[in-house]
Amino acid sequence: MKLITAVIKPFKLDDVKTALQRFGVHGLTVTEASGYGRQRGHTEVYRGAEYQIDLVPKVRIEVLCEDDDAEDMIGVIAKAAQTGRIGDGKVWSVPVDILVRVRTGERGPDAL
């Protein structure tokens, strides 16, 4: 099993959700996140005052899936989240050892 994590622009959340639903994903976790990547923080001037924007608001999505689906799912997310501009975000996957569905106690892929 794999845990896929994507950090994307907030307004792309709906597109990514729709794409994942079409792909057959039943559940995901969304967190409000902040960070920066290659675009770094930037300074803006607003009404004479300088604002340092260090951390840009992002959304983090986490989905669990079977090993075989990971590659495709990352592709689906990346495609849906893309605007082509800087700050589009990242998608990655990590292996998952143990998975339990809390309600039933099911383990492994059965709990997906």
């Binding site: 607003y46 924007i53 951390l55 608001p57 501009r85 700050g87």
Partner: protein, 780 residues
């Protein structure tokens, strides 16, 4: 639902019989029911709260085992104690919770004389220690309210602990037991039974002793109580809780009157000390309530920590008095006295459209922030809000089924206005922000999109409030689009020019003033909704959107340019002056005839003229609502709209004479104002946002614009002007406006060289000295 009450008392009786059987024939012991069991209010999930009283027995442990073990074995929760009368009294004296439980002690079985001795003893102790015990009760109520919130406005309330819940009624009963306030009346008893029935049904349905009425149980509890659905249930509970909260406040206020451990508000003692030595309350000690009445506003006084009507006030003839009293109370952070509330009910309805003074009072009330909420609740409890805002009826106690919201719609509107009061320095029109905050969700009383409905209702209400068309348009647009910024910021691509264009189009002719209103409203709305709706993450996104839209809006915000003087004044100026006119009733709003007054000063221009004139007016206890200063050639024309702080207008001839003495340099204004400060109205006890000073360069080619936003205070214009004068600045023109209790003052200034301010050092000195002048005001 008498069935529930019957079931509760039946269960108590059943337990009485059972326990009596367990105790059997025994001398010199008694079983006493305390707490809810003592009140015969046994719910399905209640514990048995029992005290085994005894005297001088060695074998008491065996007796206790005989009673407790069967109860434990039956699985019923048991809260038990074994004590002598003296021990029980000692525990009650030391532990508030135990004392409150023992106040409802009831004999169940055994030696009734023992129970009677306990009851008499506990009550005697309670009455003897009332001053300290009741203060502890009050503090406990306040702590519970802070921890559990208010039953009436929460969507998942704790029926027992929340403010307006069951424990508050027990607190009233405890105060009554000490003969300090009357026992809960029939309305409070009925409200109590309603809340208790809901808790009863909740226990039955869940099979557990739950006190929090969670969303998923609300519909089934409602059905069990014979109500249509959860919404009806929550509305019923909200009404009951409001009755209880109000009665609790009344009882606790009687506790305040005992005068012990009472927080002295805004240094009342210090003020007494200054004005009249003998009436000074001894520091920290017991003091009888002072009958001293301090004037607070026109027709309104403070006595003993409550806001009341002055002796000469005539509610029957003064429609604005209701709002004025509410605003004065909120601004002072004090409650309205109950008798005053009922007298305010005699105020005739406000004429439609409202006079300016009523609108001002509404804005001042809302501008008091969270202090306004208690005053508003008092108006609600007296049924006075609907008379002011008929559409309020549709949102009162209205629950909202949505995981983000914590409060009912009406309370959410008040909470939003309270948070908006903290943002009044961020907008050019604090009055419109506060009104928009009060109305933003008013459309939730109607079916359909609440923003669209709200815009329609807001249009009506703005007409009722008597707002000018341009202001109405701003408020209505703010209500219509109050979700625009948060929705776009979180769901649209801010890098896409089309997104920004969409917002610019929606903002339309409202321009920058509307955008800043929408921004402040979004923040206040989010904060009032709860942490799930507003956080740093969302704030950053919305601020980013506002920056981008602001840059795209053509033109900068107008800096409130001074009006051109009227022709008659220009003619006077041509004559060169000096001339002073004081015209009473010139700007008199309908409903307050003769209370407003226009003061005109025409004189050869010289630095400091405007603020010195303002100082003279302040020394006559005139509050400046608006001022406009311009010049025609070498002559300065200053026009002030003033209202007296208290009732009667000072003699116009005296004011004019002082202004002439000022013009000829024969008046020490500073000394005069210092004298007056000793008898000034009480300083604000509420938290207000700090003043804000902004220097704007692109509003004028020949001058720098200094914009000051601050909470209004006596002599404000004098202090700001003097600070500008201390920096060797010349005020070429000015426009001063007081909106409710918020002042927005714009000064066109030039430096010592007659040019706009350019050096960084001078600019920061100007900001610092104006802020320092205002900081001194806040502390006074």
């Amino acid at each position: 639902m008498p069935l529930f009450a019957e079931a509760r008392s039946n269960l108590s009786d059943h337990n009485d019989v059972w326990l009596a059987g367990l105790l059997g024939p025994a001398s010199r012991v008694a079983l006493v029911a305390v707490g809810g069991y003592g009140r015969r209010e046994m719910l399905p999930g209640s514990d048995l709260d029992v005290l085994l009283l005894y005297e001088g027995q060695d074998g008491i442990a065996a007796v206790a085992d005989r009673v407790w073990y069967p109860v434990w074995d039956s699985g019923v929760g048991l809260d038990h104690a074994v004590r002598t009368v003296a021990q029980a009294r000692k525990v009650a004296r030391e532990d508030l919770k135990a004392a409150l439980g023992l106040l409802s002690a009831r004999h169940v079985a055994g030696d009734e004389n023992l129970t009677q001795a306990l009851r008499r003893g506990v009550l005697a102790d309670w009455r003897a220690d009332a001053p300290t015990r009741l203060v502890a009760v009050r503090e406990q109520c306040q702590e519970r309210a802070a921890q559990f919130g208010e039953l009436a406005f929460l969507l998942e309330p704790d029926l027992k602990e929340a403010r307006g819940g069951l424990r508050d009624v027990h607190a009233i009963a405890a105060v009554a037991a000490a003969w300090v306030a009357p026992a809960p009346g029939p309305r409070v008893r009925a409200a109590y039974e309603q809340v208790l029935d809901a808790r009863h049904a909740l226990h039955e349905l869940t099979g557990r002793g739950l006190d929090r009425l969670v969303l998923e149980e609300q519909d089934s509890v409602a059905t069990r109580l014979g109500m249509l659905d959860g919404d009806v249930l929550l509305r019923t509970l909200a009404g009951a809780a409001r009755t209880i909260s109000y009665a609790t406040d009344q009882a606790l206020r009687q506790v305040d009157r005992l005068g012990v451990g009472r927080p002295r508000r805004f240094g009342v003692t210090a003020r007494f000390g200054r004005s009249s030595g003998p009436s000074q309350a001894p520091p920290g000690g017991r003091s009888s309530p002072s009958p001293f009445r301090e004037p607070l506003a026109d027709g309104i006084v403070v006595q003993d920590g409550e806001v009341m009507l002055a002796r000469g006030a005539t509610p029957e003839q003064d429609p604005v008095l209701l709002l004025r009293a509410a605003a004065a109370a909120a601004q002072a952070g004090l409650p309205l006295a109950p008798r005053t509330l009922s007298r305010l009910g005699q105020c005739p309805p406000l004429p439609v459209p409202w006079p300016a003074s009523a609108r001002d009072a509404l804005v001042a009330l809302l501008g008091a922030g969270h202090a306004a909420i208690g005053v508003w609740e008092a108006l609600e409890a007296s049924g006075l809000v609907t008379g002011l805002i008929p559409d309020w009826e549709r949102v009162r106690n209205r629950p909202q089924r949505n995981p983000l919201h914590r409060f009912t719609v009406d309370r959410h509107l008040m909470e939003t206005a309270a948070y908006a009061a903290g943002l009044t320095r961020e907008v050019a029109r604090p009055d419109l922000l506060l009104i928009a905050a009060l109305l933003h969700d008013i459309g939730k009383g109607w079916p359909g999109d609440h923003s669209a409905c709200g815009a329609v209702v807001a249009t009506d209400l703005c007409a009722r409030f008597g707002l000018p068309a341009a202001d109405t348009a701003l408020v209505v647009a703010a209500v219509r689009h109050h979700l625009l910024l948060p929705v776009v910021a979180t769901r649209r691509d801010l890098d896409d020019p089309a997104t920004i264009r969409q917002v610019v189009t929606a903002v339309g002719t409202g321009g920058a003033p509307l955008l800043e209103l929408l921004h402040a409203l979004a923040i206040a709305d989010g904060q009032a909704t709860g942490p799930a709706a507003w956080n740093e993450w969302k704030a950053t996104l919305v601020a980013d959107l506002v920056r981008r839209v602001s840059a795209a809006l053509s033109g900068d915000r107008p800096a409130g340019e001074p009006d051109q003087p009227r022709d008659d004044l220009l003619a006077l100026a041509a004559a060169g002056g000096p001339a002073v006119f004081v015209r009473s009733g010139a700007a008199g709003a309908p409903g307050t005839p003769g209370l407003a007054c226009e003061v005109i000063v025409v004189a050869p221009d010289r630095p400091g003229l405007l603020w010195q004139a303002a100082g003279v007016l302040a020394s006559h206890r005139l509050a400046i609502r608006a001022a406009n200063a311009t010049s025609a050639g070498p002559t300065a024309i200053s026009v002030f709209q003033v209202v007296p702080d208290f009732g009667e207008l000072p003699d116009a001839a005296l004011v004019a004479a002082d202004l002439r003495r000022m013009l000829s340099g024969r008046l020490d204004i500073a000394a005069r104002l210092d004298q007056r400060a000793a008898a000034a109205p009480p300083p604000r006890a509420i938290l207000v946002p700090p003043p804000k000073v902004t220097l704007i360069d692109d509003a004028s080619d020949t001058a720098t614009v200094v914009e000051v936003r601050a909470h209004d205070a006596p002599g404000l214009l004098w202090r700001i002007g003097r600070a500008l004068g201390d920096c060797d600045l010349d005020v070429r023109a000015a426009r001063v406006e007081t909106l409710g209790a918020e002042a927005v003052d714009v000064f066109y200034v030039t430096g010592p060289d007659g040019a706009p301010l350019t050096t960084h050092a001078l600019r920061s000195r100007v900001t610092a000295s104006v802020l320092a002048a205002l900081g001194g005001a806040a502390g006074r």
